[in-house]
């Protein structure tokens, strides 16, 4: 953005600061200061698991605008009064004979994939290497991994503003975004009705976990990734 003047740059900086998530540290700090010195602290664990309301909900002057849309990585989520028409759904079955070749997938992406713990998701059933993304499929969930670069296509999700199904959360300290069941995703003009996803971004990659039963399950899976 070399064409930004100083005012624009300052405005962008301030906007980035407002976009940072809130975490309620009160209980975690209290647990730490009441724990015996040198003892194991539950507070740190609690801080990671405690998820406050969206940062934007805590910022009065940003509240109205933030109700419009949220985003993470190369995906934005927009609240709308009426969902746009979808031409299909993302209902999905793993390919019958897709090879499970992590090395090939990581080579295609150019970085290591932070894999969820096998005890939570079971063995990988399939890995599909697509253009600019990799999809890993387990019995109950599937994970799309993309690099976050200026060339990565921007995806747009639409959620019904009355349902309030999109909300920022934290997964092991990493900002994440939960979007509940029944929203529409627009990928290069193709609009599909889709189920729940948890989006997070780490180490320059966007992770999209789909079809977890609920936000707690999704966050647990995301936190196990590494």
């Amino acid at each position: 953005m070399p064409d930004l003047d100083d005012m624009d740059l300052e405005r962008e900086l301030a906007a980035f600061g407002r976009s940072l998530p809130d975490v309620d540290l009160v209980d975690a700090v209290r647990a730490d200061i009441e724990a015996p010195v040198g003892g194991w602290s539950l507070g740190r664990v609690a801080a990671i698991l405690l998820v406050a309301a969206a940062a934007v909900l805590a910022i009065p002057d940003a509240r109205e605008a933030a109700a419009d849309w949220l985003g993470i990585g190369r995906t934005s989520v927009r609240e709308v009064d009426e969902l746009p028409a979808a031409t299909s759904t993302t209902a999905r079955t793993a390919p019958e004979a897709a090879p499970v070749d992590i090395a090939a997938a990581e080579k295609a992406l150019g970085f290591e994939i932070a894999l969820p713990a096998a005890e939570l998701v079971g063995p990988i059933r399939a890995i599909e290497i697509g253009e600019g993304e990799v999809v890993l499929t387990w019995a109950d969930v599937w994970l799309t991994v993309r690099p976050i670069t200026p060339e990565t296509p921007l995806y747009q999700k639409f959620v019904d503003s009355e349902e309030g199904i999109a909300r920022p959360v934290l997964a092991d300290g990493t900002p994440a975004l939960w979007v509940g069941d029944g929203h529409v995703i627009d990928r290069a003009g193709l609009r599909e009705l889709t189920g729940s996803v948890l989006l997070w971004a780490t180490d320059g990659a966007e992770y999209r976990l789909a079809d977890a039963d609920d936000v707690a399950t999704a966050v647990a899976i995301a936190e196990s990734a590494g």
């Binding site: 953005m1 070399p2 930004l4 740059l9 300052e10 962008e12 900086l13 301030a14 906007a15 980035f16 600061g17 407002r18 976009s19 940072l20 998530p21 809130d22 975490v23 540290l25 009160v26 975690a28 700090v29 209290r30 730490d32 200061i33 009441e34 507070g43 740190r44 801080a47 990671i48 969206a54 940062a55 934007v56 805590a58 910022i59 940003a62 605008a65 933030a66 419009d68 849309w69 949220l70 985003g71 993470i72 990585g73 190369r74 934005s76 927009r78 976050i148 200026p150 921007l154 747009q156 920022p168 934290l170 092991d172 300290g173 990493t174 900002p175 975004l177 971004a201 780490t202 320059g204």
Partner: protein, 185 residues
């Protein structure tokens, strides 16, 4: 219980020193957003919560050192948080680039293209991540935690004139990072 908590930070500090943990709860509640912003600036998004929490715990243990005649609580606290964040950074892999991730966006109504705004904001995060911890801290204090120059001088333990010059240099380097990103794209 919360109705009984005094409103002034210094009064809360005095109450906390006397054993009122609920008074310190209130201080955490008041300043946790700024603490998280400062911790993010120094240590990155994924380490911010741990660093901010550690900062609050250290501040609690140092409450007896806080001198209300020499300044207000917030800069004193944020200096401790910034140091905790630096330690967090050192404790982990210091050579690994920190992450600055856009978690949510609040966009002015005039911005019709959320995708472009999202990308632009992440570019700023990426450029911040390319700066030194000192530059990130001073930019975070000014533009995220929205401290005054006097408060920033307290946090950094420098003169106000030094704050101005450091802030100006950090902005210049941020702009250079953005230009470099644009050139690489």
């Amino acid at each position: 219980m919360r109705e009984e908590v005094p409103l002034d930070d210094s009064a809360l500090v005095r109450a906390a020193r006397s054993g009122r943990h609920d008074a310190f709860d209130e201080l955490v509640r008041r300043h946790q957003r700024a603490a998280l912003q400062v911790a993010t600036a120094v240590a990155g998004s994924s380490r911010a919560a741990d660093a901010a929490q550690e900062g609050f715990v250290r501040a609690f243990r140092k409450l007896h050192q806080f001198d209300e005649t020499r300044g207000t609580f917030r800069p004193w606290l944020l200096r401790i948080v910034a140091n905790a964040a630096r330690n967090e950074l050192r404790r982990l892999d210091r050579h690994r680039k920190i992450d600055m991730t856009v978690a949510s966006l609040a966009v002015a109504g005039s911005e019709d293209d959320p995708g472009a705004a999202l990308a632009r904001r992440q570019e700023v995060g990426d450029a911040m991540a390319g700066l030194s911890a000192d530059d990130r801290l001073i930019l975070g204090l000014r533009w995220w935690a929205e401290l005054t120059e006097a408060e920033m001088a307290d946090v950094l333990a420098v003169a106000r004139g030094t704050v101005k010059s450091r802030l100006s240099r950090a902005m210049t380097r941020l702009r250079a990072e953005l230009e470099e990103e644009a050139a690489d794209a």
